[in-house]
């Protein structure tokens, strides 16, 4: 007998299919949404908000850097200790939760897909091992391709076809999803104790970050890639960096997308929307970034909104982490990944009493509120950099309630009133817009809507979140509570959360992309790559690619060559 489920009478928000709060039944059979069911188990969702499972476009949940954060912060692990239950493994951690807690807590918020946003290619196995250990969630990972010696050499020689061949190879070898760019050139320069602005020359390689970004955008669009390049722009966290961010968008304006989507997604844009010239006159330039996004259609953003409190910052942007460490004097570490990338980690406390933190807190929300089209903006906290993902419901409640924002602003540093725009913004998100920035937009920007994610149309994955709130609810506290723990979360047709408790922990799938490159081009690229492995890598080429065994539940997306 087929496994059937009927979610009856819920108020459904399914923005990809244009459903804006309609009373509807959702029929599920064998893990997919279907037209009708014959003998289903019934869930009564009368009067409750129903959405597709959440799709997180950017979070750091698995891999060497996340684990280094856990090792470095036993005090953070102690903050989130929850004993095992009949179905759950023991949990620990707040800003860097263990793999089990990551799966359970996302599922309890109604999320069913999370993108691990930075996978060092050489550490791909570690990343996949942790993703196997994250229960419930489907996931994917973006390999870091920008500070890579091969990439920079092809950008320098201008051979875009060979660059595309290398990009394809590294995505295939790491079982990755797309192209991640983090402080292009800057992370490599950090190996020389330096950093790079957009048009600085990268030491030794004699290319600029601008050339790397443009090159990788062109290479990415040579394939039918589901996602655009995913960029952490240069000069993260520096006052006045909003110009760099805008210039970065302009770089790829002329590049034509291979599919109906953006050509660049910039991530945790809050960290890149800063005005001023120093920490004293630091101010929000979210308006300038939002204006650009409003006027152009080739770029999307996620906000990277700040959650007040203690967190663990971690990024492949080593020089930025070092600057942060110099400000706080707390512990820090950094890491170099051979020819490919690097990283840095340091704990950080966002305080509403500090002017800079208060303005940062405002900027993330300003971006969401000032970008007019929610299909261009995604909700993130760059977990755990601006705050842990468990804070998403706090942001949702602020975006939905001007009153809530005003109440929060009252307790914060007064700089929010003269160096940020948030207190003067009246817009409030409705539930349809929340559904867009947490599932519809993110699924589309990742190209996953074509693979059953982020919507509830017939044939979609039966990933459903049922929130214990009425669509008329206006109380910010109740909204926050509802989004923290679902009434039900359904993953691939199975009830995984009921009344805020995890009741089943099926394994998730790992989604990976196979860019299909011409053999002749690949062979030519391999000559150079073999030489790199022979001369510089600590592993041999044969031992490098991730074996199929690391993806026990794989889902492949093929990306054919376009030009």
């Amino acid at each position: 007998m087929a496994d059937e489920l009927l979610i009856r009478n819920g108020v459904v928000y399914d923005p990809i299919n244009g459903v804006k709060g309609e009373k509807k039944d959702i029929c599920i059979r064998d893990g997919k949404v279907v037209d009708s069911v014959t003998n289903p188990k019934v869930i009564d969702a009368e009067g409750r908000v129903v959405m597709p499972g959440g799709v997180d476009i950017h979070a750091h949940i698995a891999g060497g850097k996340v684990n280094a954060g856990r090792i470095m912060r036993p005090e953070d692990e102690r903050k989130g200790v929850e004993p095992k239950t009949k179905v759950c493994r023991a949990q620990s951690g707040y800003s860097v939760p263990n793999t089990f807690a990551t799966g359970y807590r996302y599922a309890r918020m109604g999320y069913t897909f999370v993108m691990e946003a930075a996978m060092p290619p050489l550490a791909a196995r570690h990343t996949h091992e942790e993703m196997i250990d994250i229960p419930i969630l489907d996931n994917a990972a973006l390999p870091l391709i920008d500070n890579n010696w091969m990439t920079m050499e092809y950008v320098k020689s201008g051979d875009m076809d060979l660059l595309a061949a290398y990009m394809a190879w590294i995505i295939k070898a790491t079982k990755g999803f797309g192209v991640k760019i983090v402080n292009p050139g800057g992370t490599e320069a950090w190996a020389w104790g330096k950093n790079c602005d957009l048009n600085d020359s990268v030491p030794y390689f004699d290319v600029t970050p601008a050339e790397i970004i443009k090159g990788l955008a062109v290479a990415n669009e040579k394939f039918d890639m589901p996602h655009s390049i995913h960029v952490h722009t240069n000069m993260l966290g520096h006052p006045g960096n909003f110009e760099v961010t805008k210039d970065t968008y302009d770089l790829v304006k002329g590049v034509k997308a291979s599919k109906d989507r953006q050509v660049i997604h910039t991530t945790h844009t809050q960290f890149h929307s800063y005005g001023g010239t120093n920490w004293g006159n630091f101010e929000s330039k979210a308006d300038a970034i939002a204006d650009y996004i409003n006027q152009n259609d080739h770029a999307t953003i996620d906000i990277g909104s700040v959650i007040l409190g203690d967190t663990t910052t971690m990024t492949a942007d080593g020089p930025m982490e070092y600057s942060l460490y110099q400000i706080t004097g707390r512990k820090w570490t950094n890491h170099d990944v051979e020819l490919e990338t690097g990283s840095g980690i340091t704990p950080f406390l966002y305080s509403g009493k500090v002017s800079v933190h208060t303005i940062q807190w405002a900027i993330g929300q300003e971006l969401a509120l000032l970008v007019k089209d929610p299909w261009k903006v995604a909700l993130t906290t760059d977990h755990p950099n601006a705050g842990p993902f468990i804070g998403y419901p706090i942001i949702i409640s602020h975006l939905m309630s001007k009153k809530r924002r005003d109440e929060s602003a009252e307790d914060m540093h007064k700089a929010i009133f003269d160096r940020a725009a948030l207190p003067s913004i009246d817009r409030e998100y409705d539930l349809n817009e929340i559904a867009i920035i947490t599932r519809g937009m993110t699924a589309k920007a990742l190209g996953l809507h074509e693979h059953g994610k982020g919507h509830l149309g017939v044939g979609a994955d039966a990933d459903v979140a049922i929130y214990d709130m009425s669509p008329e609810e206006r109380d910010a506290g109740k909204i926050q509570k509802a989004f923290l723990n679902t009434k039900y979360t359904i993953k691939a047709g199975e009830i995984v959360v009921k009344d805020g408790e995890v009741v089943a922990t099926p394994p998730g799938r790992t989604i990976f992309v196979t860019p299909e490159c011409d053999d002749k081009l690949t062979d030519e690229m391999m000559v150079t790559l073999k030489d790199k492995f022979a001369k510089y890598y600590s592993v041999t080429l044969n031992n490098y690619p991730v074996q199929d065994a690391y993806l026990p539940n794989p889902y492949e997306i093929k990306a054919p060559w376009r030009s």
Partner: protein, 260 residues
């Protein structure tokens, strides 16, 4: 005044494995107002099992108390595997008659603990207030922070009549520690406030300190990163006063180290 005597049953200690008992639930503030039957029913961890206090201890109660301050708990028997005595206690008094296991007086906020013997590691861990007296020796990490925390002891007073192990008062930010014997390596590591007095010898005290004060009355083996300032008199005795630790950078080197 009320005295609650808790004598560990011999059977608890006579098993093959010395499974520890954790008694953080048995503080004066938590036991105040309970009758004997209720006292015996308080749950404590014995290894990975939750047991009734009355099954692990012989319980006797004398007198009455009007508030938690008037409650005194006396632990008797072999306490070498009894952990977390007075952990988190807020008021009242505890007397432990014998050597105690780890974390005695950890996270303590108020009241007084007297240990009539030696204390194992982490006594007074991240202590906030109150008084802890150890009549014997204290092992490593006395009044230190737990791994990873950046704040150790912030208040209260600790006296050790014997010697203390390594890392006394690591990341200490406030309060007072008096060691009447020697302190092993790295007392006051990363200290930034409060005062540690060591009446005998100390090795490498105050490393990475950025604030607070350490006085060593016996022999001191110093790290080289302290700067001599002047000869200073503390309680009528002349000491050499140093500032440090310069390893943390000149601006941050605001800790004071007085040595003979």
């Amino acid at each position: 005044m009320q005295t609650i005597t808790l004598k560990l049953k011999e059977a608890v200690r006579s098993g093959i494995a010395a499974v520890p008992v954790e008694v953080d639930a048995l503080t004066p503030d938590q036991l105040f107002g309970k009758n004997e039957a209720e006292l015996k029913a308080v749950k404590v961890w014995w290894g990975n099992r939750e047991e009734n206090t009355g099954d692990l201890f012989d319980v006797s109660v004398e007198g009455d108390a009007g508030n938690a301050e008037e409650v005194k708990i006396v632990f008797e028997g072999d306490l070498t595997r009894v952990k977390r005595i007075g952990d988190g206690m807020k008021a009242g008094e505890i007397e432990a008659r014998g050597d105690v296991d780890m974390r005695c007086g950890a996270m303590m906020e108020g009241g007084k603990i007297v240990v009539k013997g030696n204390a194992n590691c982490w006594a007074g861990r991240e202590m906030r207030g109150g008084e802890l007296i150890i009549e014997g020796d204290a092992e490593d990490n006395l009044c230190a922070m737990y791994r990873g925390e950046d704040k150790g002891m912030t208040g209260g007073k600790v006296t050790v009549n014997g010697n203390a192990g390594e890392l006394v008062g690591q990341y200490m930010a406030g309060g007072e520690i008096l060691i009447k014997g020697n302190a092993d390596r790295l007392a006051g590591l990363n200290m930034r406030g409060g005062k540690i007095t060591i009446e005998s010898d100390a090795q490498w005290p105050g490393s990475d300190m950025t604030g607070g004060e350490i006085v060593v009355k016996g022999e001191t083996e110093m790290t080289p990163s302290f700067k001599f300032v002047e000869t200073a008199t503390v309680d009528g005795v002349e000491y050499k006063k140093y500032l440090g630790d310069l390893a943390m950078g000149e601006k941050k080197a605001k800790g004071t180290l007085h040595v003979k």
